[in-house]
Symmetry: C2
Subunit: 408 residues, 2 copies
């Protein structure tokens, strides 16, 4: 029988009433004749509460133990949803990550799925049960419990779909699809019916908090269609897939932004015998995500490299740089806070080199300073002062006519 994997986020499971609503959505799919696997995230504010408890005990929270703590949360939501499905008259059972066969690496808090042994789930599906899997968790090869961090439940859902050869994944979120920009802040933002994996990947990386890039990457790798649906409203979904049919010729498909960016700059003395790779290797070792990197040789005497990181990793990044100063051989480090990233995304961009120029012109005309630039085949990102972020997004949305549905 064809299988569908459904994922509910923490906000969609935060109360009894919401769990019952989730049940309605699940049984609707089950009643259409599909085998259904549901993936749950931690309920409501559970994760914050658990962190609070741990931080009360110690400032230096063990990553292994914190994963044991955090894993309880989706275990709870999965069992409660299974109960509610039974109450609705359906055969259902919950499985934790390890029961569902989710094997990961051993990076606590940010584990990645190595493989999923779906046989246990398949057995239960064959018996007609709806299987509810506790998302964002698994075990490593030594049977330690691991959790996946941000986007973990979505990633579980897509990986599950790949392992079980499911038709599609339905992700219920607090937004009702993918927009050309954030409709709360950008005037004329419009929902897209279809988005390609690549575009979504850029959108997700660039701060549209709809679906985590890890989940999109997996979906692309295994070519699994992902429907992004509202958990509160009955509206059409946005479908993620390989080829976007309707609007393929549009240059720019969306505008995204991300606040709380920090720029770090590291400088060297002239002719120092150093490798830039060293810095990024050390940062990667500490799981600090570096985004935009710009190398500048302003004059021959002081080569510098600048890069952006997220605010929440600032303290750790500084610490790492401080500790590595001698071994890496740089002479000074500086930082600039209060920055934001604004990006334009579109698969059509690759074949049209004028897009970036048009973006810079637009921002320049409006006196928005561009601090850093980063481009890829399908996006251009600029770093601007955070107070200009929303205005820049609105200007770019208008500049590329995104409020207008496309004529085919």
């Amino acid at each position: 029988m064809a299988k569908i994997v459904m994922k509910f986020g923490g906000r969609a499971l935060a109360s009894t009433a919401q769990i019952h609503e989730a049940v309605q959505k699940v049984v609707e799919i089950k009643n259409k004749g599909f085998d259904v696997v549901v993936v749950t995230a931690a309920m409501g504010s559970a994760t914050q509460n658990l962190w609070h408890m741990a931080n009360e005990l110690t400032e230096d929270v063990s990553k292994r133990e914190m994963d044991v703590v955090l894993a309880t949360s989706a275990q709870l939501s999965s069992a409660l949803l299974a109960m509610a499905l039974q109450e609705a008259g359906y055969q259902a059972l919950s499985l934790t990550g390890w029961q569902a066969g989710v094997q990961t690496d051993n990076v606590y808090g940010h584990a990645r799925i190595d493989w999923i042994d779906g046989s246990h789930i398949e057995e239960h599906l064959a018996q007609g049960a709806i299987v509810v899997v506790a998302g964002e968790q698994g075990i490593d090869d030594k049977h330690n419990i691991t959790t996946f961090g941000k986007g973990g439940a979505e990633t579980t859902a897509v990986a599950m779909a790949a392992a079980l050869d499911a038709e599609e994944v339905i992700i219920f979120t607090n937004v009702d699809g993918v927009y050309t920009a954030d409709p709360h802040t950008v005037e004329g933002a419009r929902k897209l019916n279809e988005v390609s994996y690549d575009e979504m990947l850029e959108l997700a990386h660039l701060g549209a908090p709809i679906i985590h890039p890890r989940a999109v990457e997996l979906a692309k790798k295994f070519q699994i269609p992902v429907m992004i649906r509202s958990s509160v409203k009955e509206t059409t979904a946005t479908v993620l897939k390989e080829e976007v049919e309707m609007e393929r010729n549009l240059l720019v498909r969306g505008v995204a932004y991300e606040a709380d960016i920090i720029r770090l700059t590291v400088g060297y003395d002239a002719n120092a015998d150093v490798s830039l790779a060293g810095i990024f290797a050390v940062l990667a070792e500490h799981h600090i995500n570096v985004d935009i990197i710009v190398q500048a040789i302003i004059n021959q005497l002081k080569p510098t490299v600048s890069f952006t990181i997220l605010k929440e990793q600032f303290a750790e990044a500084l610490q790492v740089l401080e500790n590595s100063k001698v071994s890496l051989g740089f002479s000074f480090a500086d930082f600039e806070i209060g920055l934001a990233k604004v990006s334009i995304i579109g698969s059509g961009m690759a074949s049209n080199p004028g897009v970036a120029a048009r973006m810079f012109e637009c921002l320049c005309r409006e006196h928005i300073p561009v601090k850093m630039v980063s481009t890829s085949e399908i996006k251009v990102s600029v770093v601007v002062p955070q107070e200009e972020m929303i205005r820049a997004a609105n200007l770019l949305h208008k500049e590329f006519n995104l409020e207008q549905p496309v004529q085919i």
Copy 2:
């Protein structure tokens, strides 16, 4: 290296401050050179909160799913305690029931341990770590999560000690040892330094809520000394062991009581071709614990059998009897609520038949009606009206001179 298993109850882990106190107790033993395994119960009122969540969703809570829900609680407390031990500078890690190798039968909510594979724990102990095990949980042979119900954490601790060949178990509770009677309600109640397994078994079965009979049974079976200590006060412990040396000649060693007893009576028509065993078989199938059983043939026409059950199983017991009325062939069922059980316990009793008579005389003299009687080698229990329970316990404590330390 010699091993010690320590168990902390939910109240001893209810707050950050209490977790830090538990840490002090653990490191004190660790610093003496023992390998330490700690077993934790669910924190504070966590279990009630989880039941509340489940009951909000459904009246008919799935036992399997409830165990998945309940198991999160000791998983949380074990990881938090492990963190706090690390904060104190000790190597520590938490293990869930399945990680600790706890294999059980498949009776959800009341699972019994089949065996424990201690090899995983042994490995970590050998590396010098303090191992914190989430108590009252394991997995069945199909890898379903099971929980043990009342006394589960103590049972885990004793079973763990047996599997690991530990020197002793230390159980931290909110009382500071075993008393001749409840010191809150019985005047002159006195702490016992030693209690035999058999005596403790009766005390535990008879309502002294210090250590669960299942744990005592296991301790007796594997001859593991169990120290019962206060988690709040620094006082001498009561030691459970096979042979009690100090006070072995005392007739009665303690008085116990248990409120909220319900008497069910089932009656048959004369000459009905029925088996009494049938009723108890059916009740046992539904895991309803029957305590005192009295068969009475008041006249030849209406043979009856009465038995006591706990209040919390009343509704289910009535349901079971109702459903089995035809198949079991009884003609009526009746019940009496508002009863309590008061018991005297002592290993010396076996060889002294006058003890029961002295008990009845004492109660009769004070006009306390005895509704049912049950005796064993080392105890006599009577069922009395609940409003007379505390008075009866005080009278019996005095009658048998329990307030006086024994002369050797």
